[in-house]
Subunit: 92 residues, 2 copies
């Protein structure tokens, strides 16, 4: 058992990507686009997204996925303006 | 030719991921970790990264990749503290 692992729990790594729903203005992306155009690049659009890589412990993969979905809804994504997607895998 | 496309240029989409080099403290990830632990999740670590999706025009895939690498070094990533990776594909 690796250090800090709870009895009956396994270690999982989740990768979550959070981005604005289509139709929402992305001011950070737009600012980057303008800066790149100023640097003479032919850039039409810049969109941004945030990635969270989370190491967590859970009793099963299904439970880990359920928890990660809940984390997105409760904390990491704003359900009004954000879309999110994630994948979870067991760690060796 | 699609609207706004330059003669002799093709449209490409780049996906760039920028994250802190290993060893650098990630305060945003650490703040998220503490918040998730407060919500009773068994979270050991949270790392964050930024994704840029860039639509650009360039004469060739090789030139598009060269420009995107240059954009990372000049604007999007901090070479002292960030690692970055990207992929570029031609758009239909």
């Amino acid at each position: 058992m690796s250090t800090g692992e709870l009895v009956g729990f396994k270690s999982y790594r989740a990768r979550i990507e959070v981005k604005l729903k289509s139709g929402y203005l992305d001011p950070e992306g737009e600012t980057s686009r303008k800066a790149l155009v100023d640097l003479r690049y032919k850039v039409n659009r810049v969109g941004t997204a945030k990635v969270y890589e989370i190491d967590l412990q859970a009793p099963s993969l299904e439970e880990a996925k359920r928890q990660v979905d809940e984390m997105c809804m409760r904390l990491l994504a704003n359900p009004v303006k954000d879309d999110y997607a994630f994948e979870v895998k067991e760690m060796k």
